[in-house]
Symmetry: C2
Subunit: 383 residues, 2 copies
C-alpha cells in the first residue's frame, strides 16, 4: 500500500465532492438540464475571472486556449511581443511563429520577472506591435509576472495584453476588468480543481474588436462562434460534459470559500513553503517575484543528480512533485501548493523532502523545514 499525494502544478488534487460527480451518468448537452447547469457555470466563471465578459469553455488543454488567443486576434505578418520567462513563455513565441506572426521575444533569466521599464523600451522600439503575450505565473520557474503593470503599459500604448493565467487564475488576484487585461485564460486541472481536458478564455471589448479583423483560419477554436453558443447556455461543439458537471461543484466550493480567502490561503501556503525551503538551506529560484502557485527550488550543489529528488519522492514515498523542464532539468524541483491544498499538503511535501535530502547525502535535521512552514503558517493563518 503506497498512498499517493499529487502535488504538481497541474493536475492538482480533485476534491472528494467533485470526484463523486465525475462518474455520474453524463447529461446530454443539448437538453434544458445541461443548459441550467451551464448557466450556473458561466456565471461562476465570470466571478472567478472578475469580468463581465463571457468566459468561454473549450474542450482542449490550456495550450488550445493559447492558440485560440493567437488565431482569433491576429493576422499573418502582424507583430507581437512575447515575454519568455521559461517553457510557457517560449510557447507563446512558438505559437506566434506557427501562425505566421512576427514575435519579438523578451528573454528573461530563469526565475526572473519582466521589468516594466524593459517592456516599455521594447514597446517603444516596436511601435507596430499589436500585443504583449505573457504569463501571470510562469509554471516552469515559479515566477509571478507583473500583470497589472503589463496591462497598464499595453493600454497606454494601444497594445493588447494577452495573459496566460493557466496557473494563476483562482490562485492570486487578477481582476480582469478592473486591471484592463484584454485576454485571460486558464485550464481545468489547475485552481479550478477538476481533471485536465477543459480550457477557459475571456476577451475584453478591445480584444473582441481586434478579432473582427483577424484573417487567420480557425474553426474548432473559433471564439466568436463559441460566444454565440454560450449566450444560449450551449457550446459550439460537444463539451467535455463530465468535466463541466465536476466544474459546477468545484465552482460552488470556490464561492463558498470566497475569492479573497482563496488568494490568502494560496499566499500563506506559498510563504510557508518558501520558509521551509530556506530553513533547509535551499534556495528559491524566483526569489524576487515568487508565484503563489508553485515554488521552484534550486537543487543544492551537494546533490549531483538533481532528477533524483522528485524521482525518489514519487517512487519511494508516493509524493508526486515535478522536476525542472528543458534546460532546468536536474537543476530545480517544483513544489506545488494551489487548488485543493491545505497546510498539510505543504507539510507532507516538506516532510518527504527532508527524508529524501538526507538519503541523497544532503543532511538536514528532521523537522527543520516542517517547523518553519508551520511557524509561518501559524503567524499568518486562520487560527
Amino acid at each position: 500500500m503506497k498512498k499517493t499525494y499529487l502535488l504538481t502544478p497541474g493536475p492538482t488534487p480533485i476534491p472528494e465532492r467533485v470526484a463523486a460527480i465525475l462518474g455520474q451518468p453524463v447529461v446530454h448537452h443539448r437538453t434544458p438540464g445541461f443548459e441550467t447547469l451551464f448557466q450556473e457555470v458561466r456565471e461562476n466563471l465570470k466571478w472567478v475571472f472578475q469580468t463581465k465578459q463571457e468566459v468561454l469553455c473549450l474542450a482542449a488543454s490550456g495550450t488550445g486556449a493559447m492558440e485560440a488567443a493567437v488565431s482569433n486576434l491576429f493576422s499573418p505578418g502582424e507583430k507581437v511581443i512575447t515575454v519568455n520567462g521559461g517553457k510557457f513563455g517560449e510557447r507563446w513565441t512558438k505559437i506566434a511563429n506557427a501562425f505566421g506572426l512576427t514575435a519579438i521575444e523578451i528573454k528573461l533569466e530563469p526565475g526572473a520577472a519582466v521589468k516594466p521599464s524593459e517592456l516599455e523600451k521594447t514597446i517603444a522600439a516596436h511601435s507596430d506591435a499589436k500585443a504583449v503575450l505573457f504569463q501571470a505565473s510562469e509554471t516552469s520557474t515559479g515566477s509571478a509576472q507583473p500583470v497589472k503593470a503589463v496591462a497598464d503599459l499595453c493600454r497606454k500604448n494601444g497594445l493588447l495584453s494577452v495573459c496566460d493565467a493557466i496557473t494563476a487564475a483562482g490562485v492570486f488576484d487578477l481582476p480582469m476588468d478592473a486591471w484592463g487585461i484584454d485576454v485571460l485564460m486558464t485550464g481545468s486541472q489547475k485552481a479550478m480543481m477538476i481533471p485536465p481536458g477543459m480550457a477557459f478564455i475571456a476577451l475584453s471589448d478591445r480584444a473582441w474588436k481586434k478579432s473582427e479583423s483577424s484573417t487567420l483560419p480557425k474553426f474548432y477554436l473559433n471564439l466568436k462562434k463559441e460566444r454565440d453558443a454560450h449566450l444560449k447556455n450551449q457550446t459550439a461543439w460537444t463539451p467535455a460534459t463530465s468535466l463541466v458537471m465536476g466544474l459546477q461543484e468545484s465552482l460552488r466550493m470556490m464561492r463558498e470559500e470566497g475569492l479573497e480567502n482563496i488568494f490568502k490561503r494560496h499566499a500563506l501556503l506559498a510563504a510557508s513553503t518558501r520558509a521551509a525551503v530556506e530553513a533547509l538551506g535551499l534556495e528559491v529560484l524566483a526569489k524576487d517575484s515568487p508565484s503563489s502557485a508553485v515554488t521552484a527550488v534550486k537543487v543544492p550543489s551537494s546533490i549531483q543528480e538533481g532528477k533524483k529528488i522528485p524521482k525518489l519522492m514519487r517512487d519511494r514515498y508516493g509524493v508526486v512533485i515535478t522536476g525542472g523542464q528543458d534546460e532546468l532539468a536536474g537543476k530545480i524541483f517544483r513544489l506545488s501548493h494551489f487548488g485543493y491544498c491545505s497546510i498539510f499538503d505543504v507539510t507532507t511535501a516538506i516532510s518527504c523532502l527532508e527524508l529524501v535530502l538526507n538519503e541523497l547525502g544532503h543532511p538536514v535535521a528532521y523537522g527543520t523545514g516542517v517547523g518553519a512552514a508551520l511557524k509561518t503558517y501559524a503567524a499568518g493563518g486562520p487560527g
Copy 2:
C-alpha cells in the same frame, strides 16, 4: 424519482466499470504510471481501428479531429471533394472553406448514401482534387456511407480518403489498413463508451506523406508533434487524463467482447429497432443504407409537432433520444443503439415510443413495436 436513459448518438451510456474509474485520483501524465497506462491504450486503439498506424489521442471533441485532418493534410487553395449527406457532411465543407480550400460538395438527399458512380464522375470532373472527405455514418440521418467503395475509388484515382467515423468506429467493420482508408477518426463519447472530451485520429502512410507539404498553420492540433509524443507513450499537451483512465477500462471491455461480436451486436440491435419502427407503421429515413449506430425515423403525418416526440419521451419518461437537426428538425427523431447498449435499451426506447405515439394521437397497439424488436433479436441473437 425519474430514472433516466441516455439513448442518443453521443454521449452514449457509460459502463459502470468505467464510471467507477472517472472519479479516481488523476494520474500525473508525465510519470511512468501514465506511460504504462497509455501504452496499453495505444495498443488497444490500434486494435479498434484495425491499423498498424498510431491512433492519436487529442483533448478535443470530434470536430477537433476533423479540423486536424484538414489543417495537417492540405494547403490553401487545394481542392477537396466533400460528401454532404447531412449536418456532419456539411461540416466538412465548412471546415474546408474556413481553411481556404476549395470544396466541391456532393449534396445528397437526407438519408441517402453516395453512389460510387456519382462520386467517380465528380472525381473525373475534378482531376486536381486531393481528397474525398466523408462520413462512415452520417449521424444526422442514420445513413451508412459506402466506405470501402469510396476508399477504393480514392486510391485508384490518387486521392486521399478522409473518413469521419465518429459514430462508426467500433460500431461496424471499418478495417482501416485492409480497406486503405487514409484518415480515420472518432470521438470518445461514441462507441468508445467514455464521456465527451477526447478525439482519436489515425493517418495512413500516404496521408502522412501528404501532410509533409501542408502549409496551413497548426499548433495545438499538430499531428506530427502528437505522433512523436505518442511514440514515447506521451501526448504533446496535457491529456484529458481522467478520460484516458476510463478509456483504458472501456477498451478492455471491448477486447473482452471482441470486434466481431461488437459489430454483430450493433447490427442486431439496429435491425431490431428497424423492425419495431416498421411494425409501428413508421418509416426509417435511411431505408436503403441504414447505419448500425442510429436509426432516424420519419415523424408520421398524423403528428403535427414532431419535436414533441423526443420532448415527451425525455420530459415525461426520462428517455433521452434526439430529434432532427437543422432542416430535419421536427421531421424525424433518432433512436440510438450503439456503445454500452443491449436489446433492453432498444425495448426501453420502443416501449417509451409506443406510450408517446398514443399520447400524441397516433394510436398503436401496445407491444407491437417491442414484439417485433424481440422477434428479430431472437432470430439473430445469441440465444
